[in-house]
């Protein structure tokens, strides 16, 4: 199964966009997940709801919001343009769209992972003189590693398959923003594009299956461990 040049470009771009997108949303997701798992504050349910928005809103709506905010003349976009780091119509914009759409999945998975870590162990670490950062990186994070990997796998799959927000925000630009799902959409819409569409579909399915397997493996074995601990 050989791909055309355009299809290869789209595939490589999708990997780049998804990896960068998930990598950038990871620190934010970790912070939010930790706050949700370990702290109490006024308005917490509202924050929880807001963080889930990209999961619930139609992707086109999210894409439109990104366009208004990060596009040229946008509230944030104008500063980016002025600084010469515009993301409108660039792969970085596609990465942002992917990151935003995958973010809720990542937060939910990470939160569950953190909540599954026994706080008694964290307390014990505190009595041994560890500050909050040392506890987080030395105890919480390693013990939630399985959930973390599972969340990353699912978030990556979501980012990889992202379409509606991406095409609305950064359109389709070969080599820059025409990711695999967008290329697939174009092929489906072109009479005679069936064979290409099939190839890309198989690739997309393969990525999704691998991600699901990784997530399932992590979460399954993670479950049995908890019972012993």
């Amino acid at each position: 199964m050989l791909l055309t040049h355009a299809e290869t470009v789209a595939l490589a771009l999708s990997f780049k966009v998804s990896l960068v997108g998930v990598a950038c949303s990871l620190p934010v997701a970790v912070g939010c997940a930790w706050l949700l798992a370990r702290t109490r504050f006024f308005g917490k349910p509202v924050v929880e709801g807001l963080l889930l928005l990209p999961l619930i809103l139609p992707p086109v709506v999210t894409g439109y919001v990104l366009l208004i905010v990060f596009g040229h003349h946008g509230a944030i976009g104008r500063w980016l343009d002025a600084a010469g780091v515009s993301i409108a119509f660039r792969w970085t914009g596609a990465a942002l769209a992917a990151a935003v759409m995958a973010f809720p999945l990542l937060v939910v998975a990470l939160r569950n992972a953190f909540e599954s870590v026994d706080r008694k162990l964290e307390n014990a670490a505190a009595t041994l003189g560890a500050g909050p950062w040392r506890i987080f990186f030395g105890i919480t994070l390693p013990l939630s590693a399985r959930g973390l990997v599972a969340g990353l796998a699912l978030a990556f799959a979501r980012a990889f398959g992202e379409f509606g927000a991406t095409i609305t925000f950064v359109s389709s630009i070969p080599g820059q923003t025409r990711t695999l799902p967008i290329a697939l959409y174009e092929l489906i819409s072109t009479p005679g594009g069936q064979s290409g569409a099939l190839r890309l579909t198989l690739l997309a399915v393969a990525v999704a299956v691998v991600a699901s397997l990784v997530a399932a493996l992590m979460l399954l074995r993670g479950g049995t461990r908890e019972a012993d601990a």
Binding site: K120, L121, N123, A124, A125, A126, T127, L128, G129, A130, G131, I139, P142, L143, D228, A229
Partner: protein
């Protein structure tokens, strides 16, 4: 020297305790559920009293009037929890070293390992240890923190007879070898008699009596059996 003056609320259960003791090793003794563990957790900083004061050797760890509330990390206490709480993802060696100060003497680690006979399984993970071994590692970890004081929560609980004897022997050895203020929580008289200098009897969340260990030994010997486990009113 231990100074305790606590008012603690946990659900429906309330605890009010006030005592001063200049004993090196103090035991908090009473039936299960009457607040002993809560007291220990409050001293460690993991539970927050409504009001009161906790000071060890003159150093205030908590004082509601003076607005002092040190974080658990800053209280510099070595806590041996009832459930040991060894870190499952770290080796025994890494568990032991977890709280060790950077400035600790090189031989401190070896001394504790030798004393508690832990050298055979330094590379193992907690999941591969027996109950008694886990307890000893937990004690070693607390000791290696080089704390001002040691807090022991039911150190011999849930151990079968051989492990019990083994750990008790090690604790006796520690008492001889280390000059460390110790607060021990227990509902078993033989532990208390073996390890404490002074005993605080706690019942229903209140201090019933504070006596010398000799007096305690006599009173339990006289009654012939360990203090009856009247369940305290608990939340």
């Amino acid at each position: 020297m231990i100074e305790l003056d606590l008012a603690l609320q946990r659900g429906e259960f309330s605890l009010e305790l006030a005592l001063h003791s200049s004993a090196r090793a103090l035991a908090l003794f009473g039936p299960s559920g009457c607040g002993k563990t809560s007291t220990l957790l409050a001293i460690a900083g993991l539970l927050h009293p409504r009001r009161g004061r906790v000071a060890i050797d003159g150093r205030a760890l908590f004082d509601s009037d003076a607005n002092i509330d040190l974080t658990p990390a800053h209280r510099n206490l070595g806590v041996v929890f009832q459930d040991a709480r060894l870190f499952p993802h770290l080796s025994v060696r890494d568990n032991l070293r977890y709280g060790m100060p950077h400035a600790a003497a090189k031989h401190a680690f070896d001394d504790v390992v030798h004393l508690l006979e832990l050298s055979a399984f330094l590379k193992r993970r907690p999941g591969q240890l027996s109950g008694g071994q886990i307890r000893r590692v937990a004690i070693g970890r607390a000791l290696l923190r080089q704390p001002h004081a040691l807090l022991l929560d039911e150190p011999l609980a849930n151990l079968h007879r051989e492990a019990r004897a083994e750990v008790l022997e090690h604790l006796r050895g520690l008492k001889r070898g280390f000059e460390l203020s110790t607060i021990l929580v227990s509902h078993q008289p033989d532990e208390v008699i073996a390890l404490a200098d002074s005993v605080a009897l706690i019942q229903d969340g209140r201090l019933a009596a504070l006596e010398d260990v000799e007096a305690f030994r006599s009173s339990t010997a006289a009654s012939g059996i360990p203090v009856a486990a009247n369940a305290c009113a608990t939340g």
